[in-house]
């Protein structure tokens, strides 16, 4: 792979901010929700919008039900004088990837990345079906919970996991979320108790599902002198890749995540000990598939933030994984971390980012 041989320019996660994750942000529009997050991500390191050379955002029009929602959101930054700016109709983790690519060229040294979305406005079980094949699948309106349940069933059938394993993931995630002030769902309930939940779509019980979350997040990336000037302990991106699989669920092995494994290989996850992993697994069983694909063993602290089971703001949940992983390193709790983001039904597309603490 050319990427492995290439000299990677060190880029640091210089700052991270996220909104309070809530079930419904009932008052504010996208701009009003984003402004405090943008102000915080700059304020953390004492810079302004004039200190970044590039801006990239991630969002989707279908959450608000109208075209060009990213256009209005840009007013939360104030791009005057005009800025080099781009947008992906993807999770903010991919917006961060685009900014990282530009920083690799060495022409610019800092970028703002942000993402936003109110998942509460519409019915996600209907909206997300529009991601599916528009001829064969979307017209039947198969909801995301049902599709994830097909994956969970395949995992159980394969003998790799049980419903008790799913409950253990959910229990641990929401218990860990008790120490995350930004989380939406945090509690301490034993797996045995969770297993008394009803099925939503069997074999998925209530606790295996992510919450519906409104939220936004932002990151400042820095390279060169700015990376060291803006942080006493820069958090370096040392490996970064993303991969996609075929769309047809019936042509995939749903119990594995080859795209995650490939991205992990290119990003060099196995090149050192992983202390922390922030995995974007909206459904509890998906963490098990992803942990295996990432090659993580029991020594790795998975989702100390609580992960997507504690807060799942669509279009930001992946970017937040990168930010949360970076914060573990910045605080000194970890030296090397893996962050992951996903998109599409049943983990179709996956992104892997390796972070390491520096002097």
């Amino acid at each position: 792979m050319s990427a492995a041989a290439r000299a990677v320019r060190p880029v640091s996660i210089a700052s991270f901010a996220q909104s309070q994750n809530v079930r419904k942000d009932d008052e504010r529009n996208e701009v009003e929700g984003l402004m405090p997050v943008i102000a915080e991500v700059f304020g953390n390191i004492g810079i302004t919008k004039d200190d970044v050379d590039f801006i990239c955002s991630g969002s989707t029009d279908y959450l608000i039900g109208g075209p060009f929602s990213f256009v209005m959101a840009l007013d939360a930054v104030g791009v005057w004088p005009p800025r080099s700016e781009s947008h992906v109709e993807m999770d903010g983790a991919w917006a961060l990837y685009e900014a990282w690519v530009l920083l690799q060229e060495g022409e610019i040294d800092a970028a703002l990345v942000y993402s936003f979305g109110r998942s509460s406005l519409g019915d996600l079980s209907e909206i997300l079906t529009l991601q599916l094949d528009p001829y064969y699948e979307a017209p039947m309106w198969p909801d995301i919970v049902s599709l994830s349940a097909l994956q969970a069933r395949a995992l159980i059938d394969s003998g790799k996991a049980t419903e008790a394993d799913f409950a253990a993931v959910a229990s641990r995630s929401r218990r860990d979320a008790l120490s995350n002030p930004k989380s939406q769902v945090a509690n301490d309930i034993a797996p045995e108790v969770l297993l008394q939940d009803d099925y939503v779509v069997a074999p998925l019980r209530r606790h295996t599902l992510p919450p519906i979350t409104d939220g936004a997040a932002a990151v400042v990336l820095a390279a060169g002198d700015k990376a060291t000037a803006w942080s006493d302990r820069p958090v370096w991106i040392t490996g970064f890749d993303h991969r996609i699989e075929t769309h047809s669920l019936g042509a995939r092995d749903l119990t594995t995540s080859p795209s995650t494994a490939k991205a992990a290989e290119v990003a060099g996850v196995a090149a050192g000990k992983v202390d922390v992993a922030e995995i974007h697994a909206p459904f509890a069983h998906q963490e098990l598939i992803l942990a295996e694909a990432l090659g993580l063993d029991d020594s790795v602290a998975i989702n100390p933030s609580g992960g997507a089971l504690a807060a799942n703001p669509l279009m930001s949940a992946g970017l937040i994984r990168i930010g949360e992983a970076a914060e573990r390193i910045r605080s000194g709790a970890a030296d090397r971390a893996v962050a992951h983001a996903t998109s599409g039904p049943c983990l179709q597309q996956n992104l892997v980012c390796v972070l390491e603490g520096g002097a």
Partner: protein, 168 residues
């Protein structure tokens, strides 16, 4: 492949109707503007950094990226900065063509918005024309731009080009 069972011809199109329902909110700042319309008033907001007045404000100053917080009550009169005459029918249109769509800069505001211009033949409209809002009856006022029936000339002399050329 051979198709011996039908005389309908092969399937070439697929109808896939899509309907999604949302709970929409315009946000805090735009709600203030819309509540103002409900009272027959134009409310703008001033940016604390650059001092410009936006009507409506969507919550932020687009150039400074900070919240607009100071409420500004504007008057009823303004200037046509530019316009076009709509001659084309399109879906959702509710006015008989031809009619005039004008960019209107309210006095005291720093941004124009598009409004319907009536009570003037389409060939007599001019850039710089002074206009005023005509509101619906008080009982029909709603938190929506539909509360403004239209704008019409207010009889004042045209504004000098220099006074509005910055807003083109």
């Amino acid at each position: 492949m051979a198709d011996e069972t039908t005389d309908q011809g092969p399937v070439t199109t697929l109808a896939t109707p899509i309907r999604l329902d949302f709970d929409f909110t315009p946000g805090v700042a735009q709600s203030k503007f819309l509540r103002g319309l409900e009272r027959g008033e134009f409310h703008g907001q001033r940016c604390s950094v650059c001092g410009k007045v936006y009507v409506p404000s969507r919550g932020s100053c687009p150039t400074d990226g900070v919240p607009t917080t100071e409420d500004v009550l504007l008057g009823n009169a303004g200037t046509v900065t530019t316009y076009c005459v709509v001659n084309v029918p399109f879906a959702g249109q509710s006015i008989e063509i031809p009619y005039i769509c004008a960019q209107i800069l309210l006095d005291g505001a720093n941004l124009s918005f598009m409004g319907l211009l009536q009570e003037i033949p389409t060939d007599q409209i001019r850039m710089g024309m002074r206009v005023e809002a005509v509101w619906v009856d008080e009982s029909d006022l709603t938190p929506s731009l539909a509360s403004v029936r239209y704008f019409r000339p207010n009889g004042e002399p045209d504004a000098d080009y220099d006074t509005y050329k910055e807003y083109l």
